[in-house]
Homo-oligomer: 215 residues x 2
């Protein structure tokens, strides 16, 4: 590679994270409001440019922390966005990360110097976003649907235990269809990913239900 060739100049790398959470059976995505050029004032996915001495995973966590105060997320790459014109100033390669976390485990979302606002948005009410971030969100959701049964990606969602009815809501919402509650329970218990904690929880208007830990 000839470093003096202008064809190789002015390329950057963007990392962005589509951070999902589940709230009352609704799927939310974390967005931040941009306060600098380009796309000032528009909502966007948390993320930013990677330093030249920085691993992309580290960059993703650094940008997430800087813009929202959230630390150490174990996210996975779900896609790469390689269109050279996806950013206006210069070529920015886009790396899309995805994770699902427990919102209540985050004490607060920090609105840093770098953002005017940060908040969770229902997946059905996402505004027009900066860059190609709307496309990123929909691709991430597709990926989530494919991955939801083969585990892993939901482990961090309920660090303090979960009931089967709660999991039922999450799966139904992600997959966009109503599963049979009785067969859903059977499959989960059969898959040996739930550990009985001997505890129960009682929500208003419902029967009390057992709390499990996801292994």
């Amino acid at each position: 590679m000839d470093l003096s060739n202008p064809l190789y100049k002015n390329q950057g790398i963007h990392v962005n994270i589509v951070l999902f959470t589940v709230n009352n059976g609704e799927i939310d995505v974390l967005l931040v409001k941009r306060n600098n050029q380009p796309f000032v004032g528009q909502w966007a996915l948390p993320g930013g440019a990677v330093y030249n001495n920085e691993d992309t995973n580290d960059a993703m966590n650094r940008e997430l922390f800087e813009k929202t105060g959230i630390k150490n997320i174990d996210a996975k790459v779900f896609s790469v966005f390689g269109n050279p014109n996806r950013a206006p100033q210069m070529r920015m390669l886009g790396i899309g990360y995805i994770a699902v976390i427990d919102k209540s485990a985050i004490s607060f979302i920090r609105k840093s110097q770098k953002t005017d606002d940060a908040d969770w948005f229902n997946i059905d009410e996402i505004p027009q976003l900066a860059y190609d971030h709307n496309e990123m969100v929909s691709k991430a959701l597709e990926y989530l649907k494919q991955q939801v049964w083969q585990g892993g990606i939901l482990k961090t969602l309920f660090p303090n235990g979960v009931t089967i009815p709660e999991l039922y809501e999450v799966y139904s919402k992600i997959l966009g269809q109503n599963l049979d509650r009785r067969n859903f329970r059977k499959k989960l218990l059969n898959d040996n990913i739930l550990q009985d904690t001997e505890q129960v929880v009682k929500y208003k208007g419902k029967k009390s239900s057992k709390i499990y830990k996801i292994i």
Copy 2:
């Protein structure tokens, strides 16, 4: 992003393709011999640096063509290699592409100005490669194993039709285990991905077998 900040300077993007083919029931990977710095004289995956006005998919096909003469491969990103020190000169982000093609559909492999040699290597006899390309190959193979049953990735392997015994060899080799020939046939026919062509083919030493098209 502050373009004058040295933290953002000297970043490049590498695309590399792990191009698999199947030969006599063996899995081969296409490698090229480097003839310029760094790693002169060492074998490597086809690929190279992305131009700043170029889509990454286009860059992958351009580099593949320049170095081997192979055109228009429909490859998928299987992983991103984001370690900032994976290339010696400067930070090069690595994008790993994967595809499986029919070797016989390629008239010849061109040894261009840019490479001293280009050849297929059996997956069990891959030499020490440039950069982190050995890791790329093994990650691509993992990805291939995961994806082999849910179709798509093998479609281009047999453009002129295929027999079930031929597919049996491919699947067995990729998955690294001997499947039951009779159940393998049943599953393929049941999955409705094979279209009977009413033709048969006869290989020396074997019974004649039906030719199917993969849909």
